[in-house]
Symmetry: C2
Subunit: 175 residues, 2 copies
């Protein structure tokens, strides 16, 4: 049987409804599925790698209250984003600690689908797990889906875990 641990990368993001530090429904579901169906009680055989990709805030829509008057203001904003991301990762790292599975977690900035595939290339996990909102073809045209891009382009096997029907919010684009 395999001697090395199985390294599972899990891409996670924040809830679009509750915001940081709450994980999205689909990333929480993907994590729980991985623990319940794959890792199970064989905790010493798996390492989990949590990647959170932050999308640079292009139009500053979420920062209407902020005034940027100096380079320090931007530094502070970046610092604040980072801290929010760390709190999101804390949720997953704490869960792993409870369960007893070794993990690591880190934050990157950029286009999530591109960054995830790049990190797969760099770190060569055995498996990539991504949550999926399970959108229909019509909805996908407008929002794009990270899971489909990763399935096609990531250089490792990919599982996408769809949300359960009873977890889907009123607007299925929310997560």
């Amino acid at each position: 049987m395999a001697e090395e641990v199985t390294r599972v990368m899990v891409a996670v993001n924040e809830s679009s409804m509750k915001g940081y530090p709450h994980p999205s429904i689909s990333s929480k579901g993907a994590f729980e599925w991985t623990i319940n169906k794959i890792v199970r009680n064989n905790v010493s055989a798996f390492n989990l790698l949590f990647l959170h990709v932050q999308v640079p805030d292009e139009d500053g829509f979420n920062d209407m209250d902020s005034i940027y008057a100096s380079p320090d203001d931007f530094k502070n904003m970046n610092q604040r984003d980072r801290i929010r991301g760390v709190h999101l990762l804390e949720y997953f790292v704490n869960r792993c600690h409870e369960i007893g599975v070794v993990c690591q977690a880190w934050i990157m900035k950029g286009d999530p689908k591109e960054v995830i595939c790049h990190e797969v290339k760099r770190l060569r996990p055995d498996l990539l797990v991504v949550g999926s909102r399970g959108l229909g073809p019509f909805q996908k045209v407008f929002v794009g889906t990270v899971s489909e891009f990763c399935w096609k382009h990531a250089e490792c096997p990919v599982i996408s875990i769809k949300r359960k029907p009873d977890e889907t919010p009123q607007d299925p684009v929310d997560d």
Copy 2:
């Protein structure tokens, strides 16, 4: 932690080069990956379900030597196909027996991608594993890919396992 076993359906087919009873490179690879990376030594926590879908032989190309003169001839042909399929499944069932993981295996006839999705619906496995030849977009136009269809339509999480580059035959459509 989960009490029930994790049920993994693995779709398998015969080698296009060596024919029955040899498994295709990609289905052998998908099986070995599942054992090495997911099941590992936690054999009692998993059940494997091997599904082999036989494509009805439309033009009789593989049966040039046969003469069909009575209904019994067709019965015999069906019987022979079945036996070939059983020998393919024997390979996987024997491997599971060696490893100590509980499994079951069965044969269906029809369009593999449709039948696989139908069987997922019927049996509700936790995970479907399919091998993939890893063909480029140009090659796919001509041969279609079961893995992509299943990824989109199967009602459970799907992993497709691409062949290793050093296992790819001269003609990548072969398997």
